[in-house]
Amino acid sequence: MTDNLGTAATCDTPVDPAVLADYWLALLPAAEEAAVEAHLFECDACGARLQSLVDLAEALRALARSGALRVVLPEQFVRHAAETGRRVRQYDFEPGQTVPCTISADDDLLVARLAADLGGAERVDLIFHDAQGVERGRLTDIPFRTGAGHVIFQESVTFAKAAPSSRMVASLLAVDANGEARLLGEYFFEHTRTIPGPPGWEW
């Protein structure tokens, strides 16, 4: 708490950052929310910490909406993005299938839906190789729902829009407690660059 002088120097009873984060996301019970607000109206030190969390939340929102992250996401997210006006380019893969794919300049998000039987899997890894078999990325212990029947991977649109025409292989592996891996499926991306501009890099 401050000395009631409006200064932000110190706080004897700072609000836990996790509580501030929950407050911002409207996840606190009403009584706890009221207590946090009463504190914030007396304490500029905690107000400043909340403001920095708000800044981080806004920047994360912008980053998440930019489509520039490689991340595994659920069907609900993809549907929500499309329903709220985002242009989502989607590709569906069965195990072993080769799919021609590309991206246009006005696509907002790029996702691949990789079908797989996830039953019995404790941990699932998603690995990427180039046409020469060189590993180009690994997502370890991805979130998945056993009954989903697929994993949805969002590729970075920033990366995809700059990428040259190329072939990439994605592999889903189930990894048990002993580290033994079992192949769930391989998926072949035949990416054709259609955006004009510099040719990009060569792998």
Binding site: D44, Q51, L56, L69, L73, A148
Partner: protein
Amino acid sequence: MFVGMSDAALARRIADGRGEAEAEAEVCRRMGPRIRLYGLRHLRSAAAADDLVQQVLLKTIEALRAGRLRDAMKLAPFVLGTCRMTVLDVRRSRQRQEQLLEEFGRELIPVQSGAARLDGERLARCVGALRERERSVVVMTYYDEISAIEAGRSLGISEANVRVIRHRALKQLRACMEPTA
């Protein structure tokens, strides 16, 4: 001379009409950021939060001038209560306007966003360094503030675990974004 003065002393000054303009300016300087944070949290729009600051400060100054704040020690609770009442009014009578502000507010009114001060490339690297579950939960949470229950259900993670994962991720991101010496 008013910067170091307590809320109660400022309130008394304004009610007494002594040094009124400067005391009022200090109340605005002190309470403005607090009201704005409250507005951002409850109205989810920078433009609406700025409107709230103006409305609440006007009501506060009017009350102080008229001597309606009986207990000068309770300026902050009074301002918080005024915020709550004003937000309720906004929600009741301006639902349509609020929707428009939510939709177009950022484009219509230039707002100085704190997020712009953050290094976007550095944040992307920090998010890229998170574990997969953390990154998925962070994207789900902040893309459109999808609830922990929804995010967890669709990712195969329990609600309690979503909370733990989100807090761990935020802690790591804050540390990653701290200025390096």
